[in-house]
């Protein structure tokens, strides 16, 4: 078995998710290469080389790979694909954007959001918003798959893999980067945070999310939101937790003013401990919460912040 892991980058740095994908690759078993593709990403390659279990880092550092646009990046991976039996990435928006393209170009299926690896060709994945778990067997010679990073513990660091430059430069006349507006935050990243506090429509407006910020600061938590809160413009899209947003599985998830629709639960029900704060004691969120506190969030949040 030989496995290629596509590294996730965030503003040119190696994203924490990559260590989880390497862990999934270890469960498949075999030689593991990590592909770092971008512009000015030597630092990310150095970081990837330190992961345990990585045999080699392949570094494609060129302006055509800047911002990891799908068209050139998929062409690059296809050019390397013949060396591998498995190609893995995280189920990040980059992985989801690029890998299905690779799969189609290699005429194979893609297995999405893998959350367990039974063998080199049998995998478990959630369907129907996580209300069912399917065990699927891929009959393709090349397995292309995205991995749900919350389902695999990160590998540790201590390795020193060789870094090899990839000279392949593909052409891209089809797509062009225009701009990026990235959320700036000193808080932990939502997908990897140990504690997450999320607000829903009950927060009333964006300003009131400050009530969550204070608590998040005390707990070192990331702040998330329901779709309703994002749609209403309270907070930006990158904060949406759920079936069609981000999947989180922290040690502690605090849902405030969130009713608990199945699409929201799909994104957080694997959290270790769930706390719900809601004024409606019949809200469905209480059916999954370990600790429920019924009451008005505008009174309870300031009190919680004070007492923590």
């Amino acid at each position: 078995m030989s496995i290629l892991v596509l590294a996730d980058l965030h503003e040119g740095e190696l994203a924490a998710t990559t260590a989880h994908v390497v862990a999934a690759a270890q469960q498949v078993g075999g030689d593991i290469d990590v592909l770092v593709a971008g512009e000015g990403v030597q630092g990310a390659a150095d970081a990837a080389a330190r992961f345990d279990g990585v045999s080699r880092v392949r570094l494609a550092d060129h302006s055509v790979y800047a911002h990891q646009l799908a068209e050139p990046l998929s062409a690059l991976i296809v050019a390397l694909a013949d060396d591998y039996t498995h190609i893995l990435s995280s189920a990040s928006t980059t992985g989801k954007n690029v890998l299905p393209r690779v799969a189609a170009l290699k005429d194979v299926s893609q297995i999405s959001e893998v959350l367990a690896i039974d063998s080199a060709d049998i995998f478990k994945r959630p369907i129907y918003a996580g209300n069912a778990i399917a065990t699927v067997k891929s009959d393709d010679a090349l397995k292309v798959m995205t991995v749900r990073t919350t389902a695999f513990d990160a590998v540790s660091e201590g390795g020193s893999a060789a870094i090899e430059a990839v000279d392949t430069v593909v052409e891209n006349t089809q797509s062009q980067f225009v701009k990026e507006e990235l959320a700036q935050s000193d808080r932990p990243e939502l997908g990897g945070a140990r504690t997450v506090i999320s607000g829903g429509r009950g927060m009333g407006n964006g300003d009131n999310f400050k009530l969550l910020d204070g608590i998040a600061d005390k707990l070192g938590a990331a702040v998330g939101a329901s779709r309703a809160a994002v749609d209403a413009g309270f907070v930006p899209n990158d904060m949406q937790v759920g079936q069609t947003g981000k999947i989180v599985a922290p040690d502690l998830y605090i849902a405030v003013g969130i009713s608990g629709a199945i699409q929201h639960l799909a994104g957080m029900k694997d959290s270790k401990v769930i706390v719900a704060i809601n004024k409606d004691d019949e809200a469905p969120i209480f059916q999954v919460a370990d600790y429920g506190l019924v009451g008005d969030l505008f009174e309870l949040l300031p009190e919680l912040e004070r007492k923590l």
Partner: protein, 249 residues
Amino acid sequence: MKILVAVKRVIDYNVKIRVKADHSDVDLTNVKMAMNPFCEIAVEEAVRLKEKGTATEVVAVSIGPKAAQEQLRTALALGADRALHIEAGERVESLAVAKLLAKVVEEEQPGLVILGKQAIDTDNNQTGQMLAALANMPQGTFASEVVVEGDKVNVTREIDGGLQTVALTLPAILTTDLRLNEPRYAKLPDIMKAKKKPLESKSPADYGVEVASRVSLMKVETPAERKGGVKVASVDELIDKLKNEAKVL
């Protein structure tokens, strides 16, 4: 410019599914089916582009059982001009769907193809990307804003870190995210009119596409259910439980 929209028939998003007792699959007998919500957003965007004069014709296509024609009629009621149904089993895999759509693209030569970012049943999030690869077109996935300008389309994409804008050369593939638009409801007169709009039916064989499955479904299980816990009476009790019982503070 012509716009092609792919719509999928899926379980209604409000329905809680059940897994069959023999774990062979989920049980879809007698459950309410509907158009995939992301596909509704795709149809809406296409119709708006037509209303603005950017597009001249909107063609909806669906691959699936005969009943998928219901969702095509819905697309027609929402403003699509004609529909194409490719009759196939319930479980055509994304790659086969993309291959069929690529053939339709070849035939229809649309300037834009709009798909949902993900079907809420299998949650794959891959068909549009696969189609883009097979049709050799650029892709704007997870779109929250689409602006057509000359021979380019500017697409704002919802990505993990925030928003990214790319400029794509037409023809291009788009997949919709939740905030692209708010789909309208079909009005009764439009539903009546839709019954008279053209709906053509074809088979995968007409396109010479093999829909054989590459991924076999071995088992479907219900995930471990979470049990509801306790209600606490006060903030003090909550903090105490989190500290001393759950040990997460």
